[in-house]
Amino acid sequence: MTSSTPADSLFEFLHMEMVDYVLRTMPNASKDDVYYKLEALGFRVGQSLAERYTRDGPRLKDQLEVIKFICKDFWTAVYKKQIDNLRTNHRGVYVLQDNKFKLFTQISDSKQYMEKAAPLLAFPCGLIRGALVNLDVSCIVSAEVSQMPICTFTLRITS
């Protein structure tokens, strides 16, 4: 499919504009409020995606299967690559590392842009949380960028 790669860029454009929209329409809101709004947008999408996506697939047996599904199938579908590294403490914390996170490929890796990256992570975090909730795993998702374009997502299972 020749149209699939450019469509990726269309999604990136839409995502950037969505972040800009929330920032410009909530000029006096706290960082948390901005984050929450974008996260909620992602959450809804993640839920629907996971539902469509697992409908015809085999049942995911346990928590680890679900997490692997997110790292592999879900990530490939959304970001065209797998998670590069998955770690767990075996007590409900999973750390997913993406060494070339898609939404950052257009952004310079200098320090000054790191702060700007925070709102860009809200939607992806919501996406993951929505997908997981739909697969019966409730958790708290946070993301961190120590050096562009490496991004780590931390999942803390709450159920």
Partner: protein, 182 residues
């Protein structure tokens, strides 16, 4: 993570990118419906967002398509439909309803990936759900020196038989040549 994904999933992967896009757009419109009471204001916001996307997207479009400068509006319409829409949305709208002076035409969208799984909320029957496309076209064309007006005149979501996007050339902007260059 060594288990092979079943074939069903592999096929789904290709499709999901469109779904991700469609669902994200739907989620965004739902947010706008929450943020604004006035249907018109939602339409305006969508157009504005599209415009912002259009002015960024045109660079990507030119780089990927290697498209040459269009000679006239007929040419432009062809490129919009067969290259632009095809490239970004995977559809090729039909070009029709040219005005006599050749400055105005319609794009007929037989399918519209933005409106999959969509029903208009009863209190916003005037919502131009895909209005973002009007903005994208306005923004992108402005970057290639064409000032246009774009609007939906028919929308299958509102019960019309087709979805028709009307584009009207308002003005050709002057090429700005940087000083010191021919």
């Amino acid at each position: 993570m060594s288990r092979q994904a079943p074939a069903v999933r592999a096929a789904e992967v290709k499709k999901i990118n469109v779904e991700l896009f469609t669902l994200t757009y739907g989620s965004l419109v739902a947010q706008l419906v929450k943020d604004y009471e006035e249907t018109n204001e939602i339409n305006n916001q969508l157009e504005k967002m599209g415009y912002n996307i259009g002015i960024r997207l045109v660079e990507d479009f030119l780089a990927r398509s290697g498209s040459a400068k269009c000679q006239d509006m007929k040419d432009t319409a062809d490129v919009i439909s067969k290259v632009g829409f095809k490239m970004f949305l995977g559809i090729t709208p039909t070009i029709s309803n040219w005005s006599a002076d050749g400055n105005e035409f319609s794009l007929i969208l037989d399918e519209n990936p933005l409106t999959d799984f969509v029903e208009l909320p009863p209190e916003h029957q005037g919502l131009s759900f895909s209005n973002i496309l009007c903005g994208v076209l306005r923004g992108a064309l402005e970057m290639v020196q064409l000032k246009v007006e774009a609007r939906f005149v028919k929308d299958a979501l509102k019960g019309d038989d087709t979805t028709e996007l009307r584009i009207k050339l308002i003005q050709k902007l002057q090429d700005e040549v940087p000083p010191g260059e021919d």
